[in-house]
């Protein structure tokens, strides 16, 4: 047979094979359906755990649709923040495999990954039978948020359940009141409006502190609780400080928590205590949210997953239609926000990993994300933020803006202990047990000792 003819034959055969493979792939992709993918797991029950807040409640309301389509039963356990974290730790370390997937704050990620407790999602994502071709997290999610919340050391371990940031909440009715505007301008020499810097923030807090009218300028989350640390981080970042001198959450690096910027931020933070209600050293996020719902506070810095209950839910809030939202005021650190996501993860000991992945993937789809977001969620999908329904929410713009400038925080295995050290020392400072410098120096010493040689103190303590 002539040479040309052989080439032609080879070409034809290769083309035919390619066409067949392409056709097969397209038909498989086109034919992918949740019902078929879930068929092998029909009758299975998958169990998960998370924090008892609106996003999880919204998921619970959505789950029956998944159950109906797949025959997989979804059990959701809801607990208070710390309880949800400690129950997971005990389950993972006892290797009981009680939870088929877990929803956890991303600061815990390093601990889970380095101890081999969670599965990378790569295997699920490359499985033709499990992967929904329509699910493209590399295109559909805010990449920075996904990588901050669900990745560790360059590898994806899940998808964001919520992409939480904190921003400024203010009473727009008070700030737009002509009488208030007039009085404020007379006293401070500039127009009253949402605070853009920390001087304005303090002035507004001072102006509206009227204990005789049951109104306070702000409300600090001063209880010895993680809430104190989270709130303080906004001040720290905005003043140009940080805890470690690193570029990503999974890195270890020099300790800078006692930098001059950090000390200034901490002193400023405590300075706001006099504009906060008397019980401020006993408040965490639930308390300040309740105060805002009761209309007792003019401005504060708070989480985006709590905005719905204050700005939209008329059954719970007296200030619906009276709220405004903006980025955290700017300091030397520029426009910043601190991100704390809760992430879906599949434990290594999960007994139904594939069924759990199918549920997670289904929850990440646009329709479910939109529904969850409108009911108090905080999605990591920009297309959901772009929807007309979401744009109607009074906090949509602030949420989007803060997502864009959110800073990473440590997710290394020792991050919980770092948090605990800082919570204790910050609380000691607020309780007048020590000065800001003493508290942060002590924190720096302990964090440096905890992390070892990778974390020398950039500002050595005498």
């Amino acid at each position: 047979m002539p040479k040309v003819s052989l080439r032609l034959r080879t070409l034809v055969a290769t083309s035919a094979l390619s066409a067949f493979v392409a056709f097969a792939f397209v038909s498989v992709a086109g034919a992918w359906s949740l019902e078929e993918a879930a068929a092998p797991y029909k009758g299975v029950t998958i169990r998960t755990i998370g924090e008892a807040l609106p996003p999880l409640e919204a998921m619970k309301k959505l789950a029956p649709e998944f159950e109906k389509r797949t025959g997989i039963t979804v059990e959701i356990e809801m607990y208070e923040h710390s309880e949800a974290v400690s129950k997971v730790m005990l389950d993972l370390n006892s290797h009981r495999g009680r939870y088929d997937f877990i929803i956890q704050p991303h600061r815990e990620l390093g601990k889970f990954v380095t101890n081999g407790h969670v599965e990378p999602v790569e295997d699920f994502m490359t499985s033709a039978t499990l992967r929904d071709p329509e699910f493209k997290p590399e295109e559909q999610l805010y990449q920075r948020l996904w990588k901050e919340i669900s990745w560790y050391d360059g590898k994806a371990y899940g998808f964001p359940f919520t992409a939480l940031t904190m921003y400024e909440w203010y009473r727009s009715d008070l700030l737009n009141d002509p009488k208030e505007k007039e009085g404020f301008k007379a006293k401070y020499g500039y127009d009253l409006g949402p605070a853009q810097d920390w001087k304005q923030y303090r002035d507004i807090a001072e102006w509206f502190t009227r204990p005789d009218q049951q109104l306070y300028g702000t409300a600090l989350q001063g209880k010895r609780h993680e809430a104190l640390w989270y709130e303080w981080l906004n001040f720290l970042y905005s003043f140009g400080g940080d805890m470690l001198d690193v570029k990503s959450g999974s890195e270890c690096g020099p300790v800078i928590v006692n930098s001059p910027q950090a000390i200034a931020a901490t002193e400023y933070y405590k300075g706001l205590m006099k504009f906060s209600p008397p019980d401020t050293l006993n408040y965490f996020w639930d308390d300040v949210m309740a105060l805002m719902q009761q209309g007792k506070v003019a401005e504060l810095i708070m989480w985006n997953d709590a905005t719905y209950a204050v700005a939209v839910d008329e059954t719970a809030s007296t200030v619906v239609g009276k709220m405004g939202f903006d980025l955290v005021p700017q300091g030397d650190g520029g426009k910043v926000a601190q991100v704390e996501g809760w992430t879906y993860l599949v434990p290594t000991d999960s007994k139904n990993k594939e069924a759990a992945y199918l549920f997670i993937q289904w929850m990440m789809a646009y329709d479910q994300q939109l529904n969850q977001h409108l009911n108090g969620g905080a999605t990591a999908r920009p297309d959901v933020y772009a929807s007309a329904d979401v744009q109607k929410l009074p906090y949509a713009k602030a949420s989007m803006q803060s997502n864009e400038v959110a800073r990473p925080k440590p997710t290394i295995p020792q991050s919980s202990e770092m948090t605990d050290i800082l919570v204790r020392e910050l609380s000691s400072y607020l309780a007048d047990e020590k000065s800001a410098k003493e508290a942060l120096d002590q924190s720096a010493k302990e964090i440096s000792a905890l992390l070892g040689s990778c974390a020398p103190m950039k500002y050595p303590v005498q």
């Binding site: 710390s82 400690s86 730790m89 370390n93 601990k111 380095t114 101890n115 081999g116 204990p211 001063g222 209880k223 010895r224 609780h225 209600p277 008397p278 019980d279 401020t280 050293l281 006993n282 105060l291 007792k296 295995p413 020792q414 919980s416 202990e417 605990d420 204790r424 609380s427 000691s428 400072y429 607020l430 309780a431 007048d432 047990e433």
Partner: protein, 307 residues
């Protein structure tokens, strides 16, 4: 034991055969739930086990954790002394008030059953419920107790109990006294009701004054009951956790960080289980010493009384 009181060999064998199945379930329970976990805790205290740090897989470190605890951990010591102060203050007040209340009921109240039932309500509440109740009552914005404290001028309008560091521990002691004084009353009242009448009648016939009756007859007769109630309350107060955790979480600062709260933080916040077991072991050790001192004191007093 004299020869007459000694059991016969046959009886012993018979008894051994019968008693073994009877005591086995209880023994198993004690071994599985008390002895086993205790030895495991003691072993864990000598390891570097951490659920957080992958490099600490539970290697044996001897007494390193105890050394660090005793020499290099100022928070442990401040928590320890705070706990001791809490135990002494709360148990002393509970004992004095409980004793007085028991005497009052014993001498002057006829319908003791109804009163003691009512008195026992705080004791019957779970500590978590007590913590939640008082957290709400003393909440700075809408707490009912806060409102009345401000109304009568005991609290300034610009302060709140759990946000004022100097008020936190006295309040926690007061709440513990509120909850546990009835328990002390009940035990001492039971002791008073079981006292024999004859020593009192004899002393009265001899012309003893009420004070002498109290000091020389009532108190010595009640000594075992008093020791028991102090021991029980001392151990319980030393382990206090739930109420304080719910009300203050150990704050503000370290103002209410009792030893049990510190142990909780090390174990279940930081997951440093080796070191946490050492902290827990120290709690156990102090309780053990307390028990031993009380038993010794009781035995010494009883022996002295017999002599």
């Amino acid at each position: 034991m004299n020869k007459a009181n000694r059991p016969l060999r046959g009886q012993l064998i018979l008894d051994r055969g019968a008693s073994l199945p009877l005591i086995l379930p209880a023994t198993l329970l004690v071994v599985v739930f008390l002895v086993g976990p205790f030895y495991y805790m003691a072993y864990t205290a000598m390891t570097d086990l951490s659920f957080a740090n992958p490099d600490q897989k539970g290697a044996f470190v001897g007494f390193d954790n105890f050394r660090k605890l005793v020499r290099d951990d100022p928070i442990f010591w401040s928590s320890f002394w705070l706990t001791i102060r809490f135990v002494v203050a709360s148990v002393a007040i509970e004992f004095v008030l409980g004793f007085l209340l028991a005497l009052l009921i014993w001498r002057f109240i006829e319908r003791q059953r109804l009163l003691t039932t009512l008195l026992l309500v705080p004791v019957m509440l779970a500590p978590v419920a007590v913590g939640l109740i008082w957290r709400l009552l003393l909440q700075g914005d809408f707490g009912m107790a806060t409102y009345y404290l401000r109304a009568i001028g005991l609290l300034s309008p610009q302060s709140a109990v759990f946000s004022t560091p100097s008020l936190v521990m006295p309040t926690i002691v007061a709440i513990d006294v509120w909850q546990w004084t009835p328990f002390v009353t009940l035990i001492i009242l039971a002791g008073l009701m079981s006292l024999p009448r004859s020593p009192f009648e004899a002393a009265t016939m001899d012309g003893a004054a009420p004070w002498r009756l109290f000091v020389d007859i009532l108190l010595p007769l009640l000594r075992p009951i008093i020791a028991l109630v102090l021991l029980l309350r001392g151990i319980d107060a030393f382990k206090e956790f739930d109420k304080v955790f719910i009300m203050t979480g150990g704050g503000p600062g370290t103002v209410s960080e009792l030893l049990s709260i510190y142990a909780y933080r090390v174990n279940f916040k930081n997951w440093n289980l080796g070191y946490g077991a050492a902290v827990s072991f120290m709690v156990y050790l102090v309780v053990l010493i307390l028990c031993s001192v009380f038993y010794k004191a009781m035995y010494w007093k009883s022996a002295a009384a017999r002599a």
